[in-house]
Amino acid sequence: MTEAGSFFVDAVLVIPALSAALLAVLPDDRLTARLNVLAALLTFLAATVLFFERPAPGHYLIVDDLNVVFIVLSTFVGFTTSVFSGSYIAHELETGRLTPVYLRFYHAMYQTLMFGMNLALLSNNVGLMWVAIELATLTTVLMVGIYRTPAALEAAWKYFLLGSVGIALALFGTILVYLAAHSVVGEGLDAMAWNVLVRRAPEFDPALLNLAFLFLLLGYGTKVGLVPLHAWLPDAHAEGPTPISAVLSGLLLNVALFAVLRFKSVMAANPGAFAPGPLMVSLGLLSVVFASFMLYRRHDIKRMFGYSSIEHMGIVTFAFGMGGPLANFAGLLHMTLHSLTKSAIFYCVGHIAQVKGTQHMPDIRGLTVSHPALGWGLVFGVAAIAGLPPMGLFMTEFLIVTTTFARHPLLAIVLGLALLVAFGALLLRLNGLAFGDPRGGRAPARASFVPVVAHFALVLVAGIWLPPALTAWFQHVAGLLR
């Protein structure tokens, strides 16, 4: 708990906010892209310091074991996505899909999104977290609609409506939590602080907590993309610019799930409240089963990976619903690795869509022949996301299935089958995309492959050898979650 810690925490928030303001006014597009990358890099470096130096928990901000991993992950993926975004956007400008005015808007919104997500992760106040998540949602809504085609507008509208309904439900749940807390803790900011809530949770009224959690799970669960509240997700992924798809899948879903986890830990601390587990397990399982079947009939590449995100968020929700140290550990690790893998996949897909000129999968063939780097990157990514060993996601999925089998064999069987179904769908599509005679555009991709390689390297390493420090860290957090 140090002074330096609070400086860096503020830095993690101030840098994106300032750069958003700056990027909104600068005209030159090369400069803004580089500035975007620089801001994201600085934010990431500030966040890594938080591993070592932490500030004392204040009324508004807190850095504890649960969120420090997520903040570093979030800023890291934000950074690599900004690198990808630089080359992607340059191409969009050339083809005329985006005008310079919208480019400024895009960059400003990107940094605002980073600000919102960081604030949501770092906030110690339930209401402030809500505000931050709403800010993040609204910026992504604006960005999903940025191409202004009819399909993009419908996707953005659907996202806006569903997201807003979810946010409203979440606010009601937040108010109920405050109500439960303030009769015990007293009025004011203390009744909204995470550290106070978790500590005093056993004294809260269980009935209020139950109702609150129901609203919170439904509300924030909409943002996570749990079935049946998922309708916005595939469209938003398909129609928005690819960096936004990467950030949505890789980060925003995680932030929403993080919010649910915070509340789950408050609920779990109160013995009278009903166990949140079964509800989360059913929603998670429903999402996995639904999404894995939906993967089969997709013809749009980004939409397909959107459904894949629903599936993986379902797996994580299932794991956290199961509870217990192993499942929690697997869930946390899965969240992290999924972020890295999915965003890397979207980096590849973005460039693929650009060079082929289409997102329609039957029109994209033979990538390994026409664009070897992109093709093999996609192969690697799909193998990772489908859960092939030795990738990290295989390990986490294996852990989840085995711990579930030990407790509820039937659920484990259903989960396993769904995972196999998804596996099959993804490999089937991959076969068509990557191999065979090339179809579609042949222009070389002017892209930086550094982000893709970095992410995949991390995922591969995690699968083979997870550093002991990191393992200990995840286990510690898993213990906190019960």
Binding site: G127, L135, P150, V165, D205
Partner: protein, 220 residues
């Protein structure tokens, strides 16, 4: 608490539920917007009264924001949008108005049954406010589900926000953060509504979402 104060609070909060029903009853676009202005007016009066009896002066700001932004500015803007887009027409509903209102009564009864026992430990004022706030929230959701028109969905969403304002003021002592967030969401919602309504018009010449569904997202 002084019985008259409680009665007035009950009057205003119950009035909000009544105006939510009136929103469900409307079948013309301009009538809907005017009714929403009334909704916002009632919520700002309710918040102002809460500020008075809870001795919480910062709630006056919330009431003023609700009054100015939601009862005056947004309805005026929506009227202008309706005129400019040329969409004064009747609003189609998914099921009949009578059935919608019957479902609404069911939702009000449900929210009262759920909220009253749970909040029994908090004061009478909080109990009433939260029960009515949940009713308004559910009625707003019902409105969003049962209307085929983008403008009415937006108004339904804003009535949900009003219900949340009522809930937040009912939970005594909730810090300023909530006021900021509510004001914030109003602002952004206005921007987004404005942007989308104009852009939708450009592309579609209508704000009927059934036309939008031509481009349905569930395509492969």
């Amino acid at each position: 608490m002084d019985p008259l104060a409680l009665d007035v609070a009950h009057l205003l909060a119950g009035g909000l539920v009544l105006v939510s029903f009136m929103l469900l009853y409307q079948d013309r676009m301009t009538g809907l917007v005017n009714n929403f202005a009334l909704h916002a007016l009632v919520v700002s009066l309710s918040v102002a009264w809460q500020a008075h009896i809870q001795h919480a002066p910062h709630l006056y700001i919330t009431a003023a924001i609700a009054l100015i932004v939601k009862a005056i500015v947004i309805p005026l803007a929506l009227h202008r949008i309706i005129l400019q887009l040329g969409i004064h027409r009747t609003i189609e509903t998914v099921v009949g108005i009578g059935q919608t209102m019957l479902a609404g009564i069911g939702l009000v009864a449900l929210s009262i049954m759920v909220m009253l026992p749970i909040t029994a430990r908090a004061g009478t004022l909080t109990q009433q406010d939260l029960a009515f706030a949940l009713s308004v929230l559910l009625l707003g959701l019902l409105m969003m589900i049962s209307r085929r028109n983008a403008v009415s969905q937006v108004i339904g969403f804003m009535s949900i926000e009003n219900g949340l304002i009522l809930a937040a003021t009912g939970a005594k002592g909730m810090p300023l953060v909530v006021e900021i967030s509510v004001a914030f969401s109003i602002l952004i919602a206005l921007i987004v509504i404005g942007v989308f309504l104009f852009r939708i018009r450009e592309r579609f010449d209508t704000v009927d979402i059934h036309a939008l569904h031509e481009y349905r997202g569930e395509q492969p």
